[in-house]
Amino acid sequence: MNSQFTKVIIYELTMALPMSVPHVGETIESAIKNQIVPDQEFLLQGSVLDTSLGVVIDRLRGLCDNADIPPETFHDHEVVYLLKDFNAPVTPGPAAQGVMLRVRRAVDHPELPYQLRYVGYPELGNYPALLRNCLDVPVSSNVCEFLQELGAKLDHEFMAKGYIMKKGRIKVTVFKMYKVGAGMSKDNLEPLTMSHMVELSVLTTKTDMSVADDLRALADQLKPLVQLERMDYRRLGPP
């Protein structure tokens, strides 16, 4: 039981960042020692037009760690499943909305395990960034069938292609979202917007809320190129 738990922790911490990011050995060891799993995520989102992408990447390279090497790219395919009782009469309220489970796989590194992610609703409160519950678990490749057997239905899917950088504990991703074409092949991609999405996130526990200030400081460094803010997607209307 204990070894399984530690295995989950190891995977969770290595795979909490999207694929092929260097290990954070110290955090794994401390987590094993303390048995603490960071399940809260602070998030700030913004966007930048494709025309100004180069400027933002250069600025981020300067701000983040490892400025001497070119930023890592990633190409992920995310499939989102919705798990709820589809046959029950629909009742208003959060319970009926179901649970959204995200399965992400790295298209450019097929050998890496898939990643199952659950993201909760943003918490109320006056935090400098969006705070939400977040759980990441690496899984094997047959997770989609497993979820479908559970009763989850495929909600939507998309491709995300971009750069990933980190600054200390903060993960910075700049990516473009693509609609997956009818053939589900890699080449038939259609971009959603003319902008790249910029996300700053950091995993933490309920007890350590000070990282949000670092997040906000980094976000302020990107002004006025990118306006990073905590926007609750639920307020943006029904899908």
Partner: protein, 239 residues
């Protein structure tokens, strides 16, 4: 304009009240002097004086108040110059002022300017009489031209300055809020990614909250079917 009028009315009312108070206390003092004559009580005189002085002070304060319009900028014009006794005026002033004439208010109805102003006026008039009509006309024309030229200069300078400041602050737009919102909505709820194969049939007849869930359920079911149909050849999960 209305605001100024209202402010003026309010200020006038307040000033009138203060003046009435001062008049009352002056009257009391006069009565006291007449009644008591030489056996008057000095401290009580002092009291009356201090009351009057306090009232004058409040009147001064009121006039200096920032909400009071600058009375110096307003003109009071007599509407009627009549030596006959005016009944309304008699009533308003308690029988003291029969008519608003030169006997009572010589300073207010004065039309002769101050001595040095009068001197300058006379000098100008004398100069004017000496000048010929034609030269006067030419001088007027030249004056008009000069003024017009100066005005043009000032206008062009102002336009230049405005465009210069506008172009300096006009930065290229690097992020669009609409795109940010679209991206966040897409990432959070899958807006823009859903494959709509059948129109949402039964949803419009249902109550307000259920339609989003029914929509996604309908679309999800159809999406699964189309995915399975189209992706038989290239299925990434069939490893």
């Amino acid at each position: 304009m209305q605001r100024e009028e209202r402010a003026m009315d309010a200020a006038l009312d307040a000033i009138l009240q203060r003046v009435v108070d001062i008049k009352g206390s002056l009257q009391e003092l006069v009565v006291k002097v007449e009644r008591e004559g030489e056996q008057a009580d000095w401290p009580s005189y002092l009291n009356s004086f201090s009351v009057i002085s306090a009232q004058i002070y409040t009147l001064m304060k009121l006039l200096k108040n920032e909400k009071t319009p600058i009375l110096r900028n307003y003109l009071t014009l007599p509407l009627q110059l009549n030596a006959d006794p005016d009944e309304k005026l008699l009533v308003a002033t308690e029988g003291r002022v029969p008519s608003f004439s030169h006997d009572f208010v010589p300073n207010m109805l004065r039309t002769k300017p101050e001595p040095d102003v009068e001197q300058r006026h006379l000098a100008l008039e004398a100069k004017m009489a000496q000048v010929n009509a034609d030269t006067a006309q030419k001088q007027i024309n030249v004056h008009n031209k000069v003024v017009k030229h100066v005005m043009d200069l000032v206008n062009t300078a102002r336009e230049e300055w405005e465009t210069e400041t506008a172009s300096r602050t006009n930065q290229p737009q690097t992020c669009s809020i609409n795109e940010t919102q679209a991206l966040i909505a897409a990432l959070g709820t899958g807006k823009g990614f859903k494959i709509r194969t059948q129109p949402p049939g039964p949803s419009p007849t249902m109550t307000q909250q259920p339609p989003p869930q029914i929509n996604t359920a309908n679309k999800a079911v159809s999406a699964v079917k189309t995915n399975i149909k189209a992706a038989t050849a290239i299925h990434p999960y069939s490893r």
